[in-house]
Amino acid sequence: MSLSRSALLDYYYDELYPELVELEAERRRILKWAVVVALVVALPALWLAWKTLGNGIEIPFWIAVTAAGIVGFAVNWLMISYRRRFKSRIFSKIVTKIDPSLLYLPAGTIDRSLFVASALFGDRIDRFSGRDLIRGRIGKTPIAFSSVKAEREHRDARGREHRSVIFAGTFIVTEFHKSFSRTTLVVPDLAEKYLGVLGGWLQTLSGKKVVRLDHPGFEREFVVYADDPVEAHYILTPIIMEKILAIKERSGSNIYLSFRFDKLFIAIENGGDRFEPGLFRSLLRFDTFRGYIENLNIILSIVEELNLNRRIWSKE
């Protein structure tokens, strides 16, 4: 990140302050309306629930669910313009301030085809959505990332349709500084972490080619699938493995990496709402600002952490 945190803090509280105060007033207004809506819905709901309590717990339960749904929908509706204003007037300015070459598109998303091309989550994705696309170049390295949610639909034994989230978080597409021609996937090693040696044996049954690496800490956290073990070792040098572990530690989430089609895809499973303003969190609070900067920093510093600008190999 080219700007220091204190310079950003000054920018946030000095230049963006008038806008922040206006937005804060809007947030308080929305909060009041949210309380009014909650009361208007909750009181009749409570009365209805009380009336129907004699017939078992099922009807009051559904009344509570419906009431919560109505309140949630109303608050979401009230928040639309607030979110839009926050993104266009505050967040986009922070992004440009960090690096003027970065472009922020609140409604943009990483293309579905790129998400599929990573081969990290299979190619059957029934619903795909995203927001908060940021793209640009850090030094020589192009980078693009957005929040992404990918879901898969399936039917249970009774024929009822269900939807399950296969990934929700930040999806990054960048370039690796070395050339490669095959596919190497690095995914969280849940089997070995929880089942130990048995888990390691189960991985080999998955049909994919498991490549073991010479870093016990990395092996504990991740499993590597690769077409070519030599290329996997070429990409995953001891120092890169250390850095990947450090990125995982900093982000506090599961991370997935795919080295494919000469690109590096990184998926951070953080839920994907890291750049959303909250109804119960004041924008004037220091920790709110710090949260946005920290989340951006984790992503943007990946280029530096993985030394992606270091071009001493044949790739220019």
Binding site: D214, P229, V230, H233, Y234, W313, S314
Partner: protein, 185 residues
């Protein structure tokens, strides 16, 4: 009788599975060794280019140039065993890195686009060789583990699966030279 037959069939199936796993792991070692060999050849092919490009300017480094050329000629002999190939490659690594470092003392060489491209290629191959050696060591560890662990050790013993040695990775190979950093100095 049937039970005995089933038991024999199960034991035979397990035996075949273990035997195939051992063969698979041994082949994996050989495959990776073949890629080390290919990478070493790629490295040897670049050396004549480097020597011919720098020899005019580097009259003072004659000893270094001769050493590199001599070791390269030794490495190209067809009758070498795998251990000898690796030993020569290790021996060559030091003067070759010395040559790469020496280039920075010559401004006209530093400025040459051709040499800079060659250095990048050499650097890439050095790192690929280091990676292939790490991959080889991992494959040999997996193979040797399977050879020594029960019950696969029984099959390994009967069919004389020989143990394979690990390659030590010399310090020069592990630490890649950062050519750009050198050229910046």
């Amino acid at each position: 009788m049937t039970q005995l037959l089933i038991a024999v069939a199960i034991v035979a199936a397990v035996g075949i599975l273990i035997y195939n796993t051992l063969v698979g792991r041994r082949n994996q070692c050989d495959n990776i060794f073949a890629s080390i060999d290919a990478l070493l050849k790629k490295r040897y092919n670049l050396i004549p280019n480097l020597v011919s490009l720098v020899k005019e300017s580097m009259a003072y480094e004659k000893g270094l140039l001769e050493k590199v050329t001599e070791l390269r000629a030794k490495a190209m002999r067809p009758d070498l065993s795998p251990e000898q190939k690796i030993a020569i490659a290790d021996e060559l690594a030091q003067p070759l890195h010395g040559l790469m470092v020496a280039v920075e003392n010559y401004p006209e060489l530093k400025a040459s686009e051709q040499i800079s491209q060659l250095m990048r290629s050499l650097n890439e191959i050095e790192e690929q060789i280091a990676a292939a050696r790490r991959a080889y060591n991992q494959a040999v560890t997996d193979y040797n583990n399977a050879r020594q662990m029960f019950p696969s050790s029984l099959i390994a013993g009967w069919f004389s699966f020989e143990s394979k040695p690990l390659f030590e990775i010399p310090e020069e190979v592990r630490e890649n030279i950062d050519v750009q950093e050198l050229l910046k100095r």
